[in-house]
């Protein structure tokens, strides 16, 4: 179906099902219970899952397939946001023109940066992309203020021209009049489910983005990108020019980032320079590695994991901890809270850093490898047939072109 084999079709269908039912799946705990704060099924966060999933899927096409580690991809995210907000200001609060321009502009920007940066490889490439992104960030804060509105960030205002919108047009970002913020709430079994149009729009785009990356992974082009990672010398002696392949991958991943940036603006029409800072570039690197670089699902998982940490895990404070450990004797309770407290709440980044280090040290293939190892272990347990099981096999050095 759709040019995919059975296995990939199944994978795609699973992804579609999971994405569409996210508002239900992420709301497993009943309202009013202590665990309700772990529910992630609210529109703002779900939108972020989808948007940063798109960002990471795109980054993975470059890094996962070709091995070129860009430390400047946030620049494209920022450019996408700025382009989209400008479209909202000038043309229409309908998000489609903004998204289209975001993809085009970030693609052109990626073409320019990629053309220069790809003349070098390894750490030199990383530093070049980092330098370009930091330049964009610094300029957005200083001389480009007329375009970016500096530190305040670019916003929509009531007296923007919006030449395509009529007098009575919606002042909010919308899709042909349907506001992105519109939601249907449903209360069932004590759980509150929010079905938000903005999320579903992002989800559909994310599914399309995932489908496209699936096709790229299975295409001759994807094969060539993996060849770039393996052995560029053999590639050129096989009659292939590696440069345009890497440049194409760079531009495609830049366009994904621009699309993600445009969607961020479409959900909340605001664009700030901090979106382009190198820490933001570092975040997408974390997402991709954490989930599993080079795998199809890994980057999405990584993006979800980090965004969940950032938004949910960070809310656990002392009071919450005390309520959890309340059943214990006072002394032990206090001691436990004392031990756990640095790692949760505001300390979420500490835990993230530790998890990330553990993943790089022990699971070079990321969470996907962890999943595969666990399922392999379970299968082996159930078969009780150890034979010549490849427990020594380290997929870290081989491509993770798996589901």
């Amino acid at each position: 179906m759709l040019g995919l084999n059975t296995k990939d079709t199944r994978l795609l269908l699973i992804v579609i099902a999971l994405t569409l039912s996210t508002p239900i799946l992420l709301q497993p705990f009943a309202e009013g219970t202590g665990l309700a704060q772990f529910n992630a099924g609210y529109p703002d966060l779900m939108q972020r899952f989808a948007i940063f999933g798109i960002f990471a899927i795109g980054f993975n096409i470059l890094f996962g397939l070709t091995g070129y580690l860009s430390f400047g991809h946030a620049a494209f995210l920022g450019v996408g946001s700025y382009s989209a907000v400008w479209m909202f200001k000038l043309l229409s609060m309908n998000i489609l023109p903004g998204l289209i321009l975001a993809v085009i502009v970030s693609g052109l920007f990626a073409l320019l940066i990629g053309f220069v940066s790809l003349r070098r490889s390894g750490i030199y490439f990383s530093i070049l992309t980092l330098a370009f992104a930091q330049m964009s960030f610094n300029l957005a804060y200083s001389v480009l203020t007329p375009i970016t509105n500096g530190e305040t960030g670019l916003q929509v205002t009531l007296n923007d021209p919006r030449i395509l919108d009529g007098v009575n047009a919606s002042p909010y970002t919308n899709l042909f009049g349907l506001p992105m913020s519109s939601s249907v709430k449903l209360e069932l079994l004590g759980r509150l489910f929010t079905f938000n149009l903005g999320y579903y729009f992002c989800a559909v785009i994310a599914i399309l983005a995932f489908y496209l990356s699936l096709r790229i992974f299975r295409s001759p082009f994807g094969l060539m990108l993996r060849a770039v990672k393996c052995n560029q010398q053999r590639m050129s002696y096989t009659g292939l020019n590696a440069r345009p392949y890497t440049l194409a991958a760079f531009v495609i991943s830049g366009m994904y980032a621009g699309l993600a940036g445009g969607l961020l603006a479409a959900m909340d029409p605001l664009a700030g320079a901090e979106r382009m800072q190198w820490t933001a570039s570092g975040e997408v690197v974390l997402m991709t590695i954490l989930g599993g670089a080079g795998t199809l699902m890994g980057p999405v998982l990584g993006a979800g994991f980090i965004k969940y940490f950032e938004n949910i895990f960070s809310k656990i404070n002392d009071t919450v901890l005390h309520s959890w450990f309340a059943f214990l004797p006072d002394g032990i309770e206090d001691a436990l809270v004392f031990v756990v407290q640095p790692f949760v709440g505001k300390g979420w980044q500490l835990t993230l850093g530790l998890v990330f280090m553990l993943v790089v040290v022990f699971l070079p293939g990321g969470l996907m490898e962890g999943g595969q190892r666990i399922s392999a272990w379970i299968r082996r347990k159930s078969r009780k047939d150890d034979g010549r099981a490849d427990s020594e096999h380290r997929p870290g050095t081989s491509p993770h072109i798996a589901e």
Binding site: G3, L4, R215, M224, T238, G239, A248, I252
Partner: protein
């Protein structure tokens, strides 16, 4: 007029004249061996032929076109393939994927953005790659990771990757280096077979005289960057200049 015409090539590295006025003609559909003691300039010459090095002087004509100044991938597209001393393959990819890459390169050229098409739907190329793998007796290994192959299999895979492009000229850099005698004989058989099947011109650099005299139809002896003699194998054996070149340098060079 040969398929490959090398004229007056010179290449200097600092104080070392690696190639000095090398002229060489390789006739179509022959196996041409280049032999010589260590440091004679054989590998430098090969690197010039594939565009890795640019010589200081001279010209290289292949099939009526100049090779010099072209990038390695352009030279390959002209019809020159190279097998390396240590196999250069795509280690992290499967054997079949390794075979498909040269097939795509042959059909689509140096670059094509075929990002949506599926590899599986390329029935013709898949069949071609599988046929070639059968020819080198590796079809049962097509799903293996190329990095996990034995050294001999890696070399056969690399040869298959070159041959599937049906090059006009195949350059082999010590194809039996470090092999046991049995493997060496297998390789000789394989090369003979391929030659008869594919009508291909080969240039072989080799230390092992057993291989050279089993395969070569013409031999060029290189010493200190200069060709000494070029002749048929029978005349090379016992040629005084050749013996001088080898014995003057080292006796072990002549035996492998």
């Amino acid at each position: 007029m040969g398929l490959l015409e090398v004229k007056n090539i010179g290449k200097r590295f600092g104080g070392l004249q690696a190639l000095d006025d090398v002229t060489l003609s390789v006739r179509e559909n022959t196996i041409h061996a280049i032999i010589g003691p260590n440091g004679a300039g054989k590998s430098t010459l090969l690197n010039v032929l594939v565009g890795k090095l640019i010589p200081d002087t001279g010209s290289v004509m292949f099939d009526g076109q100049s090779v010099l100044g072209r990038k390695p991938h352009e030279i390959n597209q002209m019809g020159i393939s190279r097998v390396f001393q240590t196999p250069e393959i795509f280690g992290e990819l499967s054997v079949m994927e390794n075979m498909l890459i040269p097939c795509f390169a042959k059909r689509d050229g140096a670059f094509r953005l075929h990002a949506i098409e599926s590899i599986r739907s390329e029935k013709g190329l898949n069949a071609q790659a599988e046929q070639m793998l059968s020819d080198v007796n590796m079809i049962d290994k097509r799903h293996m990771n190329a990095a996990s192959l034995s050294r001999g299999d890696k070399r056969r895979l690399e040869m298959a990757m070159c041959l599937v492009q049906q090059p006009k000229l195949l350059l082999l850099d010590e194809p039996t280096a470090g092999m046991a005698r049995a493997d060496t004989n297998n390789t000789i058989e394989l090369l003979r077979e391929l030659k008869s099947k594919h009508d291909i011109t080969m240039v072989i650099i080799e230390h092992d005289m057993h291989v050279v005299f089993s395969l070569a139809e013409r031999i060029t002896v290189l010493a200190q960057g200069t060709p000494l003699v070029e002749d048929i194998p029978a005349n090379i054996k016992g040629h005084p200049k050749v013996q001088e070149a080898y014995l003057g340098q080292s006796a072990e060079g002549a035996t492998g």
